[in-house]
Each structure stands twice: as structure tokens, then as C-alpha cells.
């Protein structure tokens, strides 16, 4: 097995093994925390180290363990197999996605060995604390930036793969629910992460360039007024962070729904109930998850109008979760349930997630959220969603698909011990948190709040939780031993040990991707969607594949043998090519990035007490010149995409020259401003100016490199491919142009 492999199965396994390692590491961090909370008088650690453990536990578990396992591991391995695709749409991008993720994790965890230690401002990295934190916070931000790029690569790949590489005849409403959950999750990752990317850049500017995006004027730390330019707002970070972090909750939970759905369908020996409702709910949840983020900000004093709106949207988004959960529970009715290890984990997921979901409702309403905010109640709620919730689903998936990946069966007895041990200990750890939180115990106190009278009586629960955490760690040894022992055995698992009905189990999968095979070679009895809705398989032109027995996958006989078409050839049903779809998805994430930056600009400008008048600081003439250069560039490259091949090279050269001219002009403008003493730390306006134009200039440089790449590759890839690339490039420049015009208006003219 090659380490630098582009094979989706290898990348999936790499993601799974790495994320499981991070999961173990992140768990060990919190065992120390629980020990400290139980016996604070033992002086186990300094408060600063306690903060680091708490911050890094959250970061590792959410960003490096659960999401990469759910999406990077399960998504990469299973999505192509389940839809009959040969690989991901962009295999090299997929490989990079993994290596960037690994680099991000190493940078973040490596910060423990930096002077001052790792990040210590919580997994939410709230300013002003995070701005004054030690250098570990910088590593956190750099790691987060790498992680976001990795997630964007992965998300883009999953979306294009599902929409473009599905086997013909496998229409959207015949996709397994697992695929739907991965598709919506990928959309969330694609659109929700860019605002955090913007926030990470702004916080890096505050830490390294002395700006004050998140620091208000007159800030007092340890009794002294901090000398910063001021004018910023810590609320801006919350606004941008939670725009990601709330959809992130759905990123955590949607793949879990998908996995549990597949395991329950297999374990109950019957189709899941309410396929269409579930698909509708998951799509609706995806859309709505972008409209609820400010319910984490009720305490910022954002006013009753905004809080009213976000309370309503938060209540609305609970409806699709209930639909999906109800559908899964109702699917058990009338089934012939096999209580295998994956089934046990999947079944336990249902009540555990329900507890997590129901306890979240009071946190979505301002009146009840205010007293509960930042207490252990929130920790209990969130962990019921993610620990016995999502993690149980992921374990169900691991036990379920392990034979498919390795050809070996995990030991049932060890698996049962792992399940029961985890179920009991997790409930002992998390259930008392609701009582602690309702009593008002704050989540971030180094001594567990012992100095407060309302902590009296909770000492025993802290100790119980510490012992349960240690026991939970021991119980995981059953899983680790099981993995090691099983992997040392010979391959003995049958091809489809659970008699599952989805395509990835089919021995015909390899035939599926073999050029020249006939319709008779296609797998005969696979496809959850076909199981669920036999009506869907009728009358869709897939006549050569007979419905044999309970289920058959609806594949058209005219299935193309060319599974590796050019990325610039359009697929018939979607009407776009892989390259074009990938590009538009990239642009969508870029729109979100700049949208977040403009949103930051709007907050700072409206909240500012003094903002320079238009034209009083910046040279409008230079800005106007650059606008003209960029517009001319767009016209030229657009002409290149429409022109004759022989004129194309000339036009691309001209485009590159204009882009260089823009950058030179921008450089001259920067120099004049810096010479006049207008540095980023001068004011919030200048900070915004340098950040926005700097990020835009990076896009111009990116476009310039893309120009050179297209020109260099023109001879080797042929006219058709070059024309496809130039068409994409032209649209990119239009986008860069539009962003500049918006910036020019906001910074120079208004």
C-alpha cells in the first residue's frame, strides 16, 4: 500500500487510522482534566496546563477526530463504492486533503512543546483571551487554517463524486441514505468553514500584526489599560466562529445518521421507513443549519429582534432531527432484529442522541439559555450528541464495515464488552453534568468551582466521573486489542457477512468498474434505495437488470464503460462537467469567505465611533486605476475563452501582464501608505483595508499562477482540455474582479 496514494480506499483508511489515534489522544487529555476536577487539592497540574488540556480536548475531538473519521474515513472509503464510482472525482486533491489534515493535527498537537504550551483559550478560542494567549494559539490558528483547506478539498470531492460519478440509472432518490448524509455534510463543510478561515486570518492579524479586529478600545487586563489601537469587537469572533461551529454540529451528526441508517436496515432485515421524509429532513436540516448560529450569542446583548429570530429558527431546526430519529425508531417495528455488535451500537445511538437533542432545546431559548450558558449542562448536552451519540454511530460503522475493509471479522465477545462498558461509563460521566449545570457549576473552573457554595454536594459526582472516565479508557482496550488480534489473523470473513443490501458489499463492484463487462455482470441484489422503494425501480429505463427477489439495484444497461471521462465533459443529467462543478463549488466557498470578511467590515464600521471619510485616507486615483486594470484583464481573459486557439496564448500572456501590473500598482500603493505611517495597527479601518486587499491580492497571485499553468500545459493536454481550463479561468477572473469592485466601493468610495 503506497503512503502517498490517490486511491480513495487507501485515503479512507489513512483518515480512519489517523483520526482514531487523535480520538484516543484527545480522550486521554480529558482523563487528566477529570482527575484534576475530582481532586483539585492534589495539585496534579497548574491552572494554565488545565486550560490547555480543555482547549485541546475540544479541538482534537471535534476537528481532528470525529469529523475526519465520519467524513474523511467513512466518506472516502464508502461513497465511491456505494455509488459505483471508480474513485473520487479529484483523486489528487483527495490525497492532499489527507496530508493537509495530518499536518494540521501535528501543528496543533506539536504546540504542546512550544514555549508557553498549547492553545489555552478553549476550543472556541474567544478573544480577547486568545489574542493575549501564548504562541500555542498561533499554532492553533495555523493548524485550523490547514484543516479548513483540507476540509474544503474533501467536501468538494465528495459533492462532485456523488453528483457526477453516480452510475447511470442510480438517480438521486435511489441513493442510499448514507450517501445523502455525506452529501449534505459536504455542503455544510464547504460553506461553513470559510467564515472561520476569515476569522482565523483576522485573529492572526491581531496576534501578529498588532491590529484590533477583536479588541475594543479601553480594554483593561490585570488592572491595566492595554495599549492597542482598539475599535474592534470580541463579538465579531463569536459571530464568525459560530457561523461555522453550529453547522459543525450537523457535520458531526449527519454522517452518524447515515451510518446508523445502514446498520439498522441491515440488522432489522427490512428497508428503513420513510426514505423520502428522511432525505427531505436531511436536506432541510442542511439549509436551516446556516440560520441558527447566533443562538450561541444570546449573552452578547445582541438585542431582542435578533435573538427572537434565532430562537425561532433553532426551534424549527429541531423538527427534521425528530423526523430522522422517528424514522429510524419506526424502522425497528416489524423487523427481525439481529443484535450484533454494530446493531447494539446503532440501537444505543437512538436514545443517547435523543437525550442530547432534547436537552438542547432549553439552550435554544434565550430565557433559559442565560442561566445555563457556560455551565456543565451545556457540556452534558453536547457530549450526549457527540460521545454516546456520534461516536456510537462511528463504532457501529467500524464494526459493520470492518470485514469489507480488511476481510476479517472483529471478535463479537470483545465487541460486546466494548459496547456495554462504553455505554455504562459514558452515562456515568455525562448524566451528572445536567445536575451540575442546573446547580450553576461553570464549565471552565480549574477547581471545579470548589470555592463557590453552590458546588457543595457535588464532590462525589466529580470523583465518580473521574473513575468512570478511567474505566471508559480501560474499556477502549477491548476495542484496541480486538483490532490488533483480528488484524493478525488470516482473512476469513465472507464477502458479505451481514447480508447487507448496499452496493459496497457486492462482489460485482469490481466488475462494475471493468470496461467491457455486460449488464449480466452487474450485481443483482444490492441497493438500499431499491430495497426501500421498489416503485422507484420501475419505468426508469433500467430494463436489463431484472428485479430478482426483494431488491435489485436499478442500473441502466447502457452503462458507460468509460468511467474516466475528461473533467471538462458534461454529464448528461447534471448538465455540467466535473471540472465546472468543482470550480463552482470552489467559488461558492470563496463567496462565503469574502461574505464573512464583508460582514466583519459591516460590523466594525457600524459599531465604530470614528471611521475615516471616503477618500480621506486612501488614494482613490490608484484604486480606480487598479479597478480599470482588473476589468480590462477580465475582458481579455473572457475573450481568450471565446477566441481561436492561436489567439488564446497571446491573450493569456496579456492577462498575466495585466495581473502583474495590478500587483505592482497595489505594491506601490502599500509602499506609499506605509511610508505615511499608515500601518495595519493604525486603526480598524487600516487593518480592514490591508486584510481585505491582501487576501484579494493573494487571489490575483493565484490567478496569475493558474494562467501560467494553463499556458504551460496547453500543448500537452490538447485544445479541448485547454479550452475547458480557460473557460474556468475566465470565470475565476470575473469573480476576482467582482470582489475587487465591492472592496473598492467599501474602502475607497463609501
Amino acid at each position: 500500500m503506497r503512503i502517498f496514494s490517490t486511491d480513495h480506499k487507501v485515503v479512507g483508511v489513512q483518515y480512519a487510522l489517523t483520526s482514531l489515534s487523535f480520538l484516543l489522544g484527545g480522550f486521554l487529555l480529558i482523563v487528566f482534566v477529570r482527575w484534576q476536577l475530582a481532586w483539585p487539592e492534589a495539585d496534579l497540574m497548574l491552572p494554565e496546563f488545565y486550560n490547555q488540556l480543555g482547549a485541546m480536548h475540544g479541538t482534537v475531538m471535534v476537528f481532528l477526530a470525529v469529523v475526519p473519521l465520519a467524513v474523511g474515513g467513512f466518506g472516502n472509503y464508502l461513497v465511491p463504492l456505494m455509488i459505483g464510482a471508480p474513485d473520487m472525482a479529484f483523486p489528487r486533491l483527495n490525497m492532499w486533503s489527507y496530508w493537509l489534515y495530518l499536518a494540521a493535527g501535528l501543528v496543533m498537537l506539536g504546540s504542546f512543546f512550544m514555549p508557553g504550551g498549547a492553545a489555552s483559550s478553549g476550543w472556541t478560542a474567544y478573544p480577547p483571551l486568545s489574542i493575549f494567549a501564548t504562541s500555542g494559539q498561533t499554532a492553533w490558528l495555523v493548524g485550523m487554517f490547514l484543516l479548513i483547506v483540507s476540509s474544503l478539498f474533501g467536501a468538494l470531492n465528495i459533492i462532485v463524486t456523488i453528483l457526477q460519478l453516480r452510475a447511470p440509472g442510480l438517480t438521486m432518490m435511489k441513493l442510499p441514505f448514507f450517501i445523502w448524509s455525506q452529501l449534505v455534510t459536504a455542503f455544510l463543510l464547504l460553506l461553513a468553514f470559510p467564515p472561520l478561515q476569515a476569522a482565523a486570518v483576522l485573529q492572526l492579524m491581531d496576534r501578529l500584526a498588532g491590529t484590533s479586529f477583536f479588541l475594543p478600545s479601553g480594554l483593561v487586563v490585570s488592572g491595566r489599560i492595554v495599549e492597542v489601537s482598539g475599535g474592534g469587537s470580541p463579538i465579531l469572533w463569536q459571530h464568525l466562529f459560530w457561523f461555522l461551529a453550529h453547522p459543525e454540529v450537523y457535520v458531526l451528526i449527519l454522517p452518524a445518521f447515515g451510518i446508523v441508517g445502514e446498520v439498522i436496515a441491515t440488522s432489522t432485515r427490512k428497508p428503513l421507513w420513510g426514505y423520502r421524509s428522511r432525505v427531505g429532513a436531511v436536506v432541510f436540516m442542511g439549509f436551516m443549519s446556516f440560520l441558527v448560529w447566533a443562538h450561541h450569542m444570546f449573552l452578547t446583548g445582541m438585542g431582542p429582534t435578533m435573538s427572537g429570530f434565532f430562537q425561532v429558527t433553532t426551534m424549527i431546526i429541531s423538527v427534521p432531527s425528530v423526523i430522522i430519529l422517528s424514522s429510524l425508531v419506526l424502522s425497528l417495528h416489524g423487523g427481525s432484529i439481529r443484535f450484533t455488535v454494530p446493531a447494539l451500537f446503532a440501537l444505543a445511538f437512538l436514545p443517547m442522541f435523543a437525550i442530547g437533542g432534547l436537552t438542547g432545546l432549553p439552550l435554544g431559548l434565550a430565557a433559559s439559555d442565560i442561566p445555563l450558558h457556560d455551565t456543565y449542562y451545556v457540556i452534558g448536552h453536547f457530549h450526549y450528541i457527540v460521545a454516546p451519540g456520534t461516536l456510537f454511530a462511528l463504532f457501529a460503522g467500524i464494526y459493520h464495515w470492518f470485514p469489507r475493509v480488511t476481510g476479517r471479522m472483529l471478535n463479537e465477545r470483545l465487541g460486546r464488552w466494548h459496547f456495554w462498558g462504553s455505554l455504562v461509563t459514558m452515562n456515568i460521566i455525562f448524566m451528572p453534568m445536567f445536575a451540575q449545570g442546573l446547580a450553576g457549576l461553570n464549565r471552565r473552573l480549574f477547581d471545579g468551582g470548589r470555592t463557590y457554595s453552590h458546588s457543595a454536594g457535588f464532590e462525589f459526582s466529580y470523583e465518580l466521573q473521574a473513575w468512570a472516565a478511567a474505566a471508559l479508557g480501560l474499556v477502549q482496550l477491548f476495542f484496541i486489542v480486538n483490532l490488533v488480534l483480528t488484524l493478525r489473523k488470516a482473512k476469513t470473513a465472507p464477502a458479505n457477512p451481514w447480508q447487507a443490501t448496499t452496493l459496497e458489499w457486492g462482489t460485482g463492484v469490481e466488475l462494475w468498474n471493468t470496461p467491457g463487462r455486460s449488464a449480466n455482470d452487474l450485481p443483482q441484489s444490492f441497493g438500499e434505495a431499491a430495497l426501500m422503494d421498489q416503485r422507484g425501480t420501475q419505468g426508469d429505463g433500467c430494463r436489463s437488470v431484472e428485479n430478482s427477489g426483494a431488491a435489485s439495484v436499478p442500473i441502466c444497461p447502457e452503462f458507460s464503460t468509460d468511467r474516466h471521462p475528461s473533467p471538462y465533459v458534461s454529464r448528461q443529467d447534471t448538465g455540467v462537467s466535473n471540472g465546472a462543478m468543482g470550480f463552482w463549488l470552489f467559488i461558492a466557498s470563496e463567496v462565503m469567505l469574502f461574505g464573512a470578511l464583508f460582514s466583519s467590515y459591516a460590523l466594525l464600521r457600524v459599531a465604530a465611533t470614528d471611521w475615516p471619510a471616503a477618500g480621506s485616507v486612501l488614494d482613490t486615483q490608484l484604486g480606480l486605476t487598479n479597478t480599470a486594470v482588473l476589468m480590462l484583464l477580465t475582458v481579455v481573459v473572457w475573450g481568450a475563452s471565446r477566441g481561436r486557439p492561436d489567439a488564446t496564448r497571446r491573450r493569456l500572456l496579456m492577462t498575466s501582464a495585466l495581473a502583474t501590473l495590478f500587483l505592482l500598482n497595489k505594491g506601490l500603493e502599500y509602499r506609499a501608505e506605509l511610508q505615511a505611517g499608515l500601518v495595519p495597527a493604525t486603526s480598524t479601518f487600516m487593518a480592514m483595508y490591508y486584510t481585505l486587499t491582501g487576501i484579494h491580492a493573494a487571489h490575483v497571485i493565484g490567478g496569475l499562477f493558474a494562467n501560467i499553468w494553463v499556458m504551460a500545459g496547453a500543448k500537452s493536454v490538447g485544445d479541448a482540455m485547454t479550452a475547458g481550463r480557460i473557460a474556468v479561468l475566465a470565470r475565476y477572473w470575473v469573480f476576482v474582479d467582482l470582489v475587487w469592485i465591492a472592496m473598492f466601493l467599501g474602502l475607497y468610495l463609501l
Binding site: 457561523f243 452578547t300 435573538s307 426508469d540 441502466c556 448528461q572 462565503m592 460582514s599 457600524v606 465604530a608
Partner: protein, 96 residues
């Protein structure tokens, strides 16, 4: 007099416009939610300061980000609709 079933189970006289209260009811609820939120909530989240520059800034920032998100999601929704139409059309053409 001809009575006609309007698919919602209501028997109306032919040509009679149904007196549909559902839309008005939804409108009233929405107006209540968005129009009278401040009064209804008695401001538990503003800490005695209903409006200041920061709350204005947050509101504008939220609206900008929500606007951008709506445009992007709208574009995706449009693609999904077009895609569904194409998929449906392809299925009809494939039917023997």
C-alpha cells in the same frame, strides 16, 4: 348548484373562491414572531441596553452574512431544481 371537491376535502360551489384562513393565520403568527418579539421577550438578552452601536453592528453583520448565505444556498437550490428537471426528463426519454 354544483358542488366541487377542491382536493382538500372542502365542497365548494363551482367558481366559489375558498375562504382560506391558513395563509392569514401563518402571516399573523410570523408578524407576531418578528414584529412583536421585543415586547414579548421583555428584553431578557439586552441587559437594559436595547440599542447601541455594537448591537446595530452585530445586526448588520448578521444580515450581511445571512444575505450572502441565502444567495449561495439559493444558487444551489436553483441547480437542484434544474438538475431534478433534467433527471426527470432523461428518465421519461429512456422509457421504452
Amino acid at each position: 348548484m354544483t358542488l366541487k371537491n377542491d382536493l382538500r376535502g372542502r365542497f365548494l360551489i363551482a367558481g366559489e373562491k375558498p375562504n382560506d384562513l391558513r395563509g392569514r393565520l401563518v402571516g399573523m403568527v410570523l408578524a407576531g414572531i418578528f414584529g412583536a418579539t421585543g415586547t414579548a421577550l421583555a428584553c431578557p438578552v439586552c441587559f437594559q441596553v436595547e440599542e447601541n452601536a455594537t448591537t446595530d453592528g452585530v445586526q448588520v453583520a448578521v444580515l450581511v452574512l445571512m444575505g450572502v448565505t441565502t444567495v449561495v444556498l439559493g444558487a444551489f437550490a436553483r441547480f437542484i431544481v434544474l438538475f431534478a428537471k433534467r433527471e426527470g426528463k432523461g428518465r421519461v426519454e429512456d422509457t421504452p
